[in-house]
């Protein structure tokens, strides 16, 4: 598989020029005729009874078209466990609870109306840490579950558990062991484009919603359910996805603001737009969950892992999103990163009165890998083995089936570790101390989609027009990662046309086939596989028609040439006899017979052939639709078993750092990253994915944290919430891609959207330890934490 035309090469981003020129339409740019602006009134308490909501003054404000609360609208239960409501009645459970909303003719009026709403509360004691939530007699965040049954504690009814082998056997076989507790903070996705939507009803009460989502079809299902709860059963939702300014997991759920826009649009009969400001985005959109992980690992005298014990406690916040299924991914590294025969994994999610959390890039993997890879270094230290060697001793290999039942088709982890060690000059630099140090960490992640839902499928339609263009309809989301760039390449490559003849249509549930969502690093994996299948279908049909029509078109070519040049003599080649479907080829938009003389007149442009197929009696136009569900399994999460992905991505990253022991500052001198990507599909977008993710990993390691006090977020803006900027990323990143040519991935590739940030933080922490001999156990590793650790030493 080396003879690719477009795969493996840089291809222009289809939307690049429009984005650069400001012509791409983000939700912020969209306007509908008669559109109103919605605004939400959020709670002023983290936990309280609502005694009274006075909306009378807001209703009287000129320009206000609707003021809604839970008391004057149908109840809309939402969320993964349906424990959340679009608008809150009786009780608020977090600062961002929605108590009222308005729609007005302009944003300023909407804002003023919000200020005119007064709410009387009776404050309740709150819980702000998962440890407190588990204490006897802790106040209950939810008194009942979604079905109205009384709850007795704050633990979510979700079980993710795994036991394999015999932990006692593993413990007694261990000559060395290391135990550590690690925690991670709430962090924000920090999309440059904030969240927002426009909801609009037709006269027949069908809903159209322009939504910033990564799951248009699951969203359609959620919204249809809301319509039915609003008494509009049988009505339908059409979800249209505008240009997205980033997703990073924030679009994997439907959000309260969307339901509120729907309620306001229905009430007013006009389109209603709600877009979050940056402050609102920070304070009222769900961040990545915070976690506490306790991990113990042991190894024998040769350095072989004998057991691993992992317990995770997660602060879910007040309501439940899909993010609550993080442990479904945490299980992967916990059971399957490195070969370890005896494993115990358990996780607990608890309700608190903190902001509720959702998915973010890596989906639990960065959290678990932070603990696991830090602890690997601790254990290597106990065993007196070089951490790079220690990882090699336990390295995964192709062909193995892991304790979780993951079937490893290809695995380039060994090569990744070798690459990082070499790039960092590991042997020379490790263990020298003197405030300079090197560290590394590995990762594994789903690389062939990830089945956490009954269907893990994607559909794709290619409609060929009369001009040789392929119009593509695909439900996966371009959110800046370059999915449409790759989809363009994949269709061009698989079909045999030029990239400029591939047209990717807007994502719209009304026109695109179903897709479970753009998550789990599945974008390119699914887009590629569906594109290949659809292209094959079309090629088959094109070549069938060509048997009859191709010779006629070639004959026309020859006639034309003879007209120009009476002496022209066609070669002695029987086109009609050779025109058999398996002898045709389509490349760069031209059809030809593989073994025919390579003359221009022996080739027919695709558009011309398509017109010949179309414009005749009983003519045809060619469209292919495919639906692809990858060969993976929905694991039994209570047992922690099942091959969740068709293939797995591996990688390693390393850092060289210098620590200022007076100020506690960490300077990254350089980083190395090596990723098993199966096959490089597009070097530019791939580098973009890894550099971008690695920068997010650096932020996770050193800077980022949503700080809160008793549930109130204290740093809801970029002044106080710091992400690394270009000047903080001003160090060389030595990047290598390992191509393992995976059999399940399109063109041999694996998913790489998330892996780039998974091992970054532990690699940096391990380097800090190598430099100054202290380990910070809770992210982010701030100068003050380093100084405190140095003080204790």
């Amino acid at each position: 598989m080396t003879d690719f035309h477009y795969i493996g090469k840089e291809t222009k981003r289809p939307a690049g020029p429009d984005k650069a020129a400001g012509k791409a339409h983000y939700i912020h740019d969209l306007v509908r005729p008669g559109m109103l602006f919605g605004k939400i009134k959020f709670s002023e308490h983290p936990h309280a009874h609502i005694k009274n909501i006075d909306i009378s003054r807001a209703e009287r404000l000129p320009g206000v078209k609707a003021v809604i609360t839970a008391y004057n609208t149908p109840e809309l239960r939402i969320g993964f466990l349906r424990d959340n409501f679009a608008l809150k009645k009786d009780k608020v459970r977090q600062y961002r609870d929605e108590v009222a909303a308005v729609a007005a003719t302009d944003p300023e009026t909407a804002e003023e109306a919000i200020r005119l709403i007064t709410v009387e509360y009776e404050p309740l004691p709150g819980i702000f840490s998962p440890h407190d939530a588990l204490k006897d007699g802790a106040p209950l965040v939810h008194e009942t579950d979604a079905r109205g049954r009384a709850r007795s504690d704050n633990v979510l009814p979700l079980r993710f558990h795994h036991e394999s082998g015999d932990l006692e056997v593993g413990r007694s076989a261990a000559s060395h062991s290391a135990e550590g507790e690690f925690s991670t903070p709430l962090v924000q996705q920090c999309c440059m484009g904030t969240a927002g939507c426009i909801a609009e009803f037709s006269m027949s009460n069908n809903l159209t919603i322009w939504a910033k989502t990564q799951i248009p079809f699951l969203a359609q299902r959620d919204f249809n359910r809301a319509l039915s709860d609003m008494g509009l059963g049988g009505r339908n939702t059409r979800v249209i996805v505008p240009t997205l300014g980033g997703g990073f997991g924030s679009g994997l759920d439907t959000h309260t603001y969307e339901y509120i826009a729907i309620l306001l649009a229905f009430q007013t009969g006009r389109p209603v737009k709600i877009v979050y400001t940056r402050d609102e985005e920070f304070a009222f959109l769900s961040p990545r969950q915070s976690t506490h992980t306790r991990i113990i690992q042991g190894c024998d005298s040769e350095g072989r892992l004998t057991f691993r014990h992992v317990e995770v406690l997660q602060d879910n916040g007040a309501y439940t999103s899909w993010g609550a299924t993080y442990p479904s991914v945490m299980m992967l590294p916990a059971t399957s990163l490195y070969r370890v025969p005896n494993v115990y994994f358990d996780s607990k999610l608890v309700y608190t009165n903190n902001t509720y959390c959702q998915a973010m890039r890596g989906y639990g993997n960065p959290e678990l890998t932070w603990a696991l890879e830090s602890n690997m270094d601790e254990l290597a230290g106990e065993a007196g083995i070089d951490p790079a060697d220690f990882r090699m001793i336990n390295c995964n290999e192709p062909g193995e089936t892991t304790p979780m039942g993951l079937k490893v088709s290809t695995c380039g982890l060994k090569e990744c570790l070798e690459s990082v060690a070499e790039k960092l000059d590991w042997k020379k630099k490790h263990g020298k101390g003197k405030r300079r140090g090197v560290g590394m960490a590995s990762l594994m992640h789903v690389g062939g989609s990830g089945r956490i839902y009954r269907s893990d499928a994607s559909g794709l339609i290619i409609k060929l027009d009369d001009f040789g263009n392929a119009n593509v309809y695909y439900g996966g989301i371009e959110m800046g990662q370059g999915l449409h760039t790759f989809l363009t390449q994949a269709v061009a490559e698989a079909l045999g046309i030029r990239p400029e003849n591939v047209i990717i249509n807007p994502t719209d549930t009304g026109t695109c086939p179903w897709d479970v969502g753009t998550h789990a690093s599945r974008g390119a994996f699914m887009a590629g596989n569906t594109a290949i299948l659809a292209a094959e279908k079309l090629r088959r049909r094109i070549f069938e028609f060509a048997e009859e029509l191709f010779p006629k078109e070639v004959a026309k070519n020859i006639k034309k040439l003879q007209k120009k040049d009476p002496d022209f003599k066609a070669p002695d080649f029987d086109v009609a006899a050779a025109a058999k479907r398996d002898r045709f080829e389509l490349k760069d938009g031209f059809i030809f017979i593989k073994d025919a003389p390579a003359e221009g007149y022996m080739r027919v442009e695709l558009g011309r052939l398509l017109r010949a197929i179309h414009f005749r009696n009983q003519g045809q136009m060619l469209t292919a639709d495919v639906f692809y569900d990858p060969p993976n399994e929905l694991p039994d999460f209570e047992k922690g078993y099942g091959n969740i992905s068709a293939t797995y991505a591996y990688g390693a990253q390393g850092a060289e750092v210098e620590v200022d022991t007076e100020t506690g500052e960490v300077e990254i001198i350089r980083m190395a990253a090596a990723h098993d990507v199966g096959k490089v599909l597009n070097p530019q977008t791939l580098k973009g994915q890894i550099y971008g993710a690695l920068a997010q990993g650096v932020g996770y390691a050193l800077y980022e944290e949503i700080q809160s006090h008793e549930g109130r977020i204290l740093n809801p803006d970029f002044r106080d919430y710091k992400i690394p900027g270009t000047l903080d990323m001003n160090f060389p990143i030595d990047l290598e891609f390992i191509e393992t040519d995976d059999e399940y991935g399109p063109f041999g590739s694996k998913g790489v959207g998330e892996p780039g940030l998974v091992p970054t933080a532990p690699a940096i922490a391990n380097a800090i330890y190598d430099a100054v001999g202290v380990r910070v156990h809770d992210l982010p590793i701030t100068p003050e934490k380093i100084l405190a650790a140095l003080n204790k030493k």
Partner: protein, 281 residues
């Protein structure tokens, strides 16, 4: 966000007259502090009076001493052909002020008048013994910059006064100065900052000026450290003492960016490192 009128007077007198006439009016320069406060609902001015089109407030003039118009943007400071040679410490600080986009609109006058303890141009101007000229309807006055800062967010400007110029004496040949800033990331408001100016005669310190930002209600002169250094040979013990005194004399707070203890520590370290760096120059 409330509604307000916007005025763009073309002369200083017009600006002052307008301000006198409209209660609740506020001057706006680059707006990078004003607009943030308005959007956050911290202030609700009835009107904004832009200083942007007033010729008297712009430009940098040099004839021995230097006069910087208050409406000079941070970018203009950086790009000026001579300033970086004459007052490198001011330009070092300007380069650490925000990022390119903000620097293109933010002004040096706004930076001072906003009176945040973390204003990056304040500490270099303190060690350069700068003066500021203020104008009101009654007339104009000139005061040392040190007296300009009164308390958190409070300058000695009356609400109807305009800062017109920043005045700098010709640079002393022997004087060397540095600016150091600690942020959580590179582009950040200072967690702590320090400017140090030394005039040395062989090993003896003839004159010292030190100032620290983000560690007191106002940008602060560290006069006790200056006294400690002046007239003395700068030994390692003296440096330790300078570090100690710096940490002790400041009065920082704990906030989202850092703890009080950390700020004290950084000021001490930066004072010591700043002096060391100058001695090496």
């Amino acid at each position: 966000m409330g509604r307000y009128n916007y005025y763009k007077p073309l002369s200083l007198d017009d600006a002052l007259a307008l301000h006198d006439k409209i209660p609740g009016a506020l001057f706006i320069a680059g707006g990078t502090d004003v607009m943030v406060k308005i959007v956050n609902g911290d202030i609700e001015p009835s009107a904004l009076i832009s200083l942007r089109s007033i010729p008297e407030l712009s430009g940098i003039k040099e004839n021995g001493s230097t006069r910087i118009g208050s409406m000079t943007t941070i970018s203009e400071l950086i790009e000026h052909p001579k300033l970086h040679k004459r007052y490198p410490v001011l330009i070092e600080a300007a380069r650490r002020h925000s990022g390119p986009q903000i620097r293109n609109v933010a002004t040096i006058g706004g930076n001072l008048c906003n009176c945040s303890p973390c204003a990056d141009t304040a500490t270099p101007l303190l060690v350069l013994d700068a003066k500021v000229r203020l104008r009101s309807i009654e007339g104009s006055r000139e005061i040392p910059i040190e007296e300009f800062f009164k308390g958190p967010g409070e300058t000695c400007l009356s609400s109807s006064e305009i800062l017109t110029d920043i005045l700098l004496d010709p640079p002393q040949r022997e004087a060397r100065a540095v600016f150091m800033k600690k942020g959580r990331v590179h582009m950040d408001l200072a967690t702590a900052s320090v400017a140090v100016l030394l005039e040395m005669e062989k090993n003896t310190c003839r004159r010292a000026r030190l100032a620290a930002g983000s560690v007191a209600p106002v940008p602060l002169r560290l006069s006790q450290v200056e006294e400690l250094l002046e007239g003395n040979i700068i030994s390692s013990e003296l440096l330790d003492r300078a570090r100690e005194i710096s940490s002790e004399t400041v009065s920082p707070i704990t906030d989202i960016r850092a703890t009080e203890e950390y700020r004290r520590r950084i000021v001490g370290i930066y004072v010591r490192r700043g002096i060391e760096r100058l001695l090496k120059k």
